[in-house]
């Protein structure tokens, strides 16, 4: 068992345990907190896969952006001075059974398929290549995503403020 393997199992454990806690804990803020660790674990897995840029972007966007938004969502949609924010759950048993079967099927498929494994050489840093791919091969998608983000920004602002304008 090499160092690489140990680190992989560590990150996988962090990711899966905290993901499990996210979907089972009652307190929403605790769930957001566990989600933080899930994102960290996934970032670690990206780093292990040689995707350094994606790992840092994961930290910056997911942890620094999306999770802050989610925390705001939690705080603004509950009585905020009440620290015991709970979330109910429904159909626990049925969901567990169906998703258990689904996960079993997914795992069987992943373990039994003979994947074409042909690892290329691992790059020391992926940033120059990603940069040139973004402005050459994927430039159209890149620009479209920029426009999409702008639309999302304007849309989110206008949706969230609509009520106040009517008053």
């Amino acid at each position: 068992m090499s160092l690489y393997d140990v680190i992989f199992y560590l990150f996988a454990l962090v990711t899966l345990v905290s993901a499990f806690m996210v979907v089972t804990t009652k307190n929403i803020v605790h769930a957001a907190f566990y989600l933080l660790f899930t994102f960290f674990g996934v970032a670690g897995i990206y780093a292990l896969l040689g995707a350094d840029f994606i790992a840092v972007v994961q930290l910056m966007v997911y942890v620094g952006g999306i999770l802050v938004l989610i925390l705001f969502g939690v705080m603004l949609t509950n009585k905020i001075t009440n620290v015991q924010i709970r979330s109910g759950s429904t159909n626990l048993v049925a969901a567990a059974v169906v998703i258990g079967i689904f996960a079993g099927a997914l795992l069987t498929m992943m373990l039994n398929t003979r994947w074409l494994v042909n690892p290329g050489k691992t790059l020391i840093t992926t940033i120059p290549q990603i940069g040139s791919l973004l402005v050459k091969q994927y430039v159209l998608i890149f620009e479209l995503l920029g426009i999409l983000l702008l639309i999302a920004l304007v849309g989110a602002a206008s949706i969230a403020r609509k009520e106040e304008r009517e008053k």
């Binding site: 160092l3 803020v29 605790h30 907190f33 933080l36 350094d52 840029f53 840092v56 972007v57 930290l59 910056m60 942890v63 620094g64 952006g65 802050v68 925390l71 705001f72 705080m75 905020i80 001075t81 620290v83 015991q84 020391i124 840093t125 940033i127």
Partner: protein, 343 residues
Amino acid sequence: MNVWQLILITLVKIIIIITILLLSVSYLVLFERKISAWAQNRYGPNRVGYWGLLQPFADVFKLLLKEDIVPEAANKFIHSLAPFIALFIAFSTYAVIPFGPQVKIFGEPIKLVVADVNIGVLYVLALTSLGVYGITLAGWSSGSKYSLLGGVRSSAQMISYEVSMGFSIAGVLLTAHSLRPIAIVNAQYGWMWNAILQPIGFITFTVAAFAETNRMPFDLPEAEPELVGGYHTEYSSMKFAGFFLAEYANMIIASAMIVTLYLGGWQIPYIDKLGLSMGLTTILQILAFVVKVGIMLFIFIWVRWTVPRFRYDQLMNLGWKVMFPLSLLNLIWAALLVMIFNL
């Protein structure tokens, strides 16, 4: 050099850095109290030790001996975790900031940085965006209005100023052709400091750094007249000290980042023309880094005791309508520099 040797060297570096950082944080507090006294024409702490030099230790003992109060309405777990998040983030940022050139110790080339990663600048940005958590969670988990308002304000403020901070850094990255802090310092050879090449970026980055560290004139999250103590209203004893230390550690990191990105890091212009020996040059360069960081810290403190606090809408207007366009302008300026002069 095998793996274990590498790990050992890194551990030694971490221990040295943490010790220096902790010591300088505690003395920075004294430094700030002395400068505030100077600004207000009084003496400042001068009882414990000569010139008050033992004051930091007295402060720590006082805070250790205080009772640790957790409010009834608080979420106990997150309430006690929040200061550690703030501290952890403050200290782990320092891993990628270089404080000197490569040196040879016992024949081994050693870089004077804990982790020379090729995405160092992104790492700092990512950790800065994590800084929101310590404060927001502290504010929320205390179960108090003032704390909550402080926490919410701080996250809105930090997210807003992160944007102009990121764009300012992009200008530096353009001229340095790298995300590696050491390469950025090396690119600022001679007089070509980024502060001179991109003055607008230097200003926007410095302002954003002030806002990110929640220092005056941007210390809205803990504005005493309106919010009692802001997000750390409900904290006492060592947990309060945690936030306190984190604030000062963040100040040191912000200064070190400004020095690395804009003021040439450890570089002294044209020192190689003087014909000094290697060892002396290295020592002088490390000293230069320390002095530059010290000057930036002095400016941080000086501004705090001179400039009044912004109102919240003024803060947001400044962030989005002044600093953000200016940082975009700087990006275009940097791109023009690279295009015309092939920097």
